[in-house]
């Protein structure tokens, strides 16, 4: 790798008639590349990160209900109750953990975490169906996780209603309104459509903001900054040179994410690929600017990491809209979310990649990111200049 670089740099110097300061700038960039390529562990993680995230989000994190353990308290000895139990047992959503007549079991099993839902069939279930045309059932959910509880209750209710229909199969219901739903953009309701843009934002922020901030601050902490600043090259260029390799790494990462999501997760790229890359590079620049700004204001790697984590990573996860819906948040948080670059990038990627819209519909978001980029770079350069003077 180094040899290729050396050769490349050699040809570059020989063949091109470039101004001296550009050559120096180029050498600084090459030096930064050496640092990154020599640290294999870091490089490995930086390039592996998007793959691992795509795999986790793509295959491990689902809210799908499947083989959930259920306990049935069956106090009825009738045939209908037995058929209902059988129907639940055979569904792919539930797995019968235990069956008993003792309702006190529920609390014990919930506390142990053995089951998440219980169905109680009372002892008058069968007679009541025959005599009163009515059957009463009780679903008890462990609602520590409200969402899971809601989902499980719904699924179990659907099975019970199906069973009811089976019992009534020779009758039809009059005056029926049906809802025919069409799922646009994502007919199979894949989670990937939502998280791929989110993963892109997270990875880019991590690589660009955190790594850039750490690299610059590291030089300060180790006292190398003074040596570099004593060289004749413009100090701003030295700092910018540190950001360039991360720009390149980020472009590789975007490509990895797009390839994986297209070929492995079957997420379409409906919009213009060139526009998608251009917008990604804009976001990378915003993140680099933020990283440089953080590094201008801190003196230790620990502080830089802490600020990157609190000021950039948590807000990105919270406010970009890819994990938590922004519209549910209280007003102050909704206002804060507007200052998070990732929110705008998330909207842009979703629009371009999945809805396939053009610049016409996302010019506003693009403009906001451009302003943020200019602001971060401007502030970072100003802060560095003050310190250097």
């Amino acid at each position: 790798m180094y040899k290729v670089w050396m050769k490349f740099s050699f040809i570059w110097q020989e063949k091109q008639n470039v101004p001296n300061s550009m050559k120096q700038f180029y050498h600084f960039i090459v030096k930064e590349f050496y640092h990154i390529f020599r640290d294999r562990k870091t490089l490995f993680i930086l390039l592996g990160m998007p793959m691992v995230q795509i795999i986790i989000f793509g295959f491990a994190l689902t809210n799908e209900v499947k083989n959930t353990k259920i306990t049935i308290i069956n106090q009825s000895e009738g045939a209908s109750a037995a058929r209902l139990v059988q129907k639940i047992e055979s569904s792919r959503y539930f797995e019968l953990y235990s069956q008993s007549t003792d309702a006190a079991q529920i609390d014990r099993l919930f506390k142990k975490g053995a089951v998440k839902i219980a169905l109680v069939i009372p002892n008058d279930f069968d007679p009541s169906i025959v005599n009163q045309n009515k059957g009463q059932l009780q679903i008890i959910a462990d609602a520590t996780d409200p969402n899971v509880a809601t989902a499980l209750t719904n699924y179990l209710s659907v099975i019970v209603q199906d069973f009811q229909k089976e019992l009534n199969s020779n009758n039809t219901i009059p005056y029926k309104m049906d809802v025919e739903a069409r799922m646009m953009y994502n007919p199979q309701l894949k989670g990937a459509y939502n998280f791929v843009p989110g993963v892109m934002a997270m990875v880019l922020l991590l690589v660009c903001t955190m790594m850039t901030a750490l690299t610059v601050v590291r030089e300060k902490e180790l006292g190398n900054m003074e040596i570099l600043l004593a060289s004749p090259i413009n100090p701003i260029k030295i700092i910018l040179a540190k950001a360039v390799p991360y720009l390149l790494l980020s472009i590789i990462n975007i490509t990895t994410i797009l390839l994986l999501s297209y070929f492995v997760l079957d997420v379409p790229i409906n919009g213009n690929l060139f526009l998608l890359y251009a917008e990604s590079i804009l976001f990378i620049m915003v993140s680099l600017g933020l990283g440089l700004l953080i590094s201008a204001g801190t003196d230790s790697q620990q502080s830089a990491m802490f600020i990157s984590l609190v000021a950039m990573f948590l807000p990105t996860v919270m406010f970009s809209g890819f994990i938590f819906p922004i519209e549910n948040m209280p007003l102050p948080l909704r206002i804060i979310s507007n200052f998070i670059p990732a929110k705008w990038f998330f909207i842009i990627v979703k629009s371009v990649m999945i809805k396939g819209v053009g610049l016409k519909l996302i010019w506003k978001e693009t403009l906001i990111l451009t302003c943020m980029m200019l602001f971060f770079f401007g502030m970072a350069i100003k802060k560095f200049k003050i310190r250097l003077a």
């Binding site: 993680i45 689902t62 959930t68 506390k111 009463q136 719904n154 009811q164 309104m177 502080s303």
Partner: protein, 372 residues
């Protein structure tokens, strides 16, 4: 014991002189516990809906009223133009479109079966699914009302009907914050513990002070303990701050005992700090240590069952979560706080965590080499 005293004294002084660490200890819990639960509200409400009413009948009007009266939907547009509604979806102004076809009312009376069309922006699959389900529920409820009013009274209904009542235990108000806060507490001490410990030894390496330590007759176990104990104490302080905030702001008091929680936290912290120290001894510089920590933590947290249930993961992922210390603590935390489980209920998790702590810390002591 004596050398250990001096190491502890030194570590504490350094920690309290470092503004970055102090921020981690005191700012992090506040931000995470106050902002995150507010943001982390999965409950889907305020779904923006555009209605295309081509019927303009009394039945369709009443249906729209029912929809707007529910808490789930916000009517953003009411017209009869599909393209205009479609543009709202493209702009993210609307999440779903309900189309009521022409002759909806008359068909309902004549043919006794009618169709409504729903177009959902399904990029966010979960939201789309729930939105469609809510809508279906509203329509069905309206349908049932309509049927009861229309069918001639007095006619005996021969169909058996199941009455399902559902009860939600432990969290009857379905409060999402009660579910999230205990999990976030775990996240909090994990982030604090692992970050602080993982950059500690490697910082001494980068600064060159580690060599000076290695040339002294200090015992390895004393050195590792000296690094571990301060963060262990800080971790327990942080979790106490967390419990305090959970009580003050969210009114969360564990149903089970604080003793169980602290005992588990104490063992869990040893595991987390041990992992941090391992990262530290294997890293060459702080940047590398931070990146590795971040990477591991991200995997642990995402796969820890904080946001999505472990039960719905595929088998390989479930197998992986058995190695994930965070998932055990989140589980125990929720069991004790919400269900009041005791030490016996959580015995399995306690045993696994103790084994984990012993293995990791033995490894950390062994991996720290005074001589290269």
């Amino acid at each position: 014991m004596s050398p250990l005293r001096y190491i502890l004294e030194k570590e504490f002084k350094q920690i309290f002189r470092n503004p970055a660490i102090l921020k981690v200890i005191f700012v992090m819990p506040v931000i995470q516990l106050i902002a995150l639960p507010m943001a982390a509200d999965y409950e889907i409400k305020n779904i923006n809906i555009a209605v295309i009413d081509r019927d303009h009948s009394s039945v369709s009007n009443k249906l729209v009223q029912k929809i707007t009266a529910s808490n789930y939907f916000k009517l953003v547009d009411y017209n009869s133009d599909f393209d205009a509604s479609m543009e709202l979806i493209e702009n993210d102004k609307a999440d779903l479109i309900l189309e009521i076809p022409k002759n909806f009312e008359s068909n309902l009376y004549k043919e006794k079966e009618t169709k409504l069309f729903l177009a959902v922006n399904a990029i966010n699959g979960v939201k789309a699914n729930l939105g469609a389900a809510y809508m279906t529920n509203i329509v069905q409820a309206y349908n049932a009302d309509f049927r009861i009013q229309t069918i001639t009274p007095g006619r005996f209904n021969e169909l058996p009907i199941f009455e399902i009542s559902s009860t939600n235990w432990y969290n009857p108000k379905m409060n999402y914050k009660i579910f999230m806060v205990p999990g976030i507490l775990v996240l909090l001490i994990t982030i604090v513990g692992m970050n602080l410990s993982s950059i500690n030894i490697v910082r001494e390496k980068e600064m060159g002070t580690i060599e000076q330590i290695n040339v002294t007759p200090i015992k390895k176990i004393h050195f590792i303990l000296g690094k571990l104990l301060p963060f262990w104490i800080i971790g327990l302080v942080v979790i106490s701050v967390g419990f305090l905030i959970a009580w003050l702001i969210y009114g969360i008091i564990p149903l089970g005992s604080y003793f169980t929680l602290y005992l588990f936290a104490a063992i869990y912290l040893l595991v987390i700090l041990g992992i941090g120290l391992l990262i530290s001894t294997y890293s060459e510089n702080q940047q590398q240590a931070m990146l590795v920590t971040f990477f591991l933590m991200m995997i642990f947290v995402l796969m820890g069952g904080l946001y999505t249930s472990i039960d719905s993961m595929p088998d390989w992922a479930r197998w992986f979560t058995r190695l994930n210390p965070i998932s055990y603590f989140i589980e125990v935390m929720r069991m004790v706080v919400l269900k009041g489980s005791g030490i016996i209920d959580t015995g399995k998790q306690f045993i696994i965590m103790i084994i984990y702590a012993v293995v990791i810390n033995t490894w950390a002591v062994l991996s720290y080499q005074k001589r290269a």
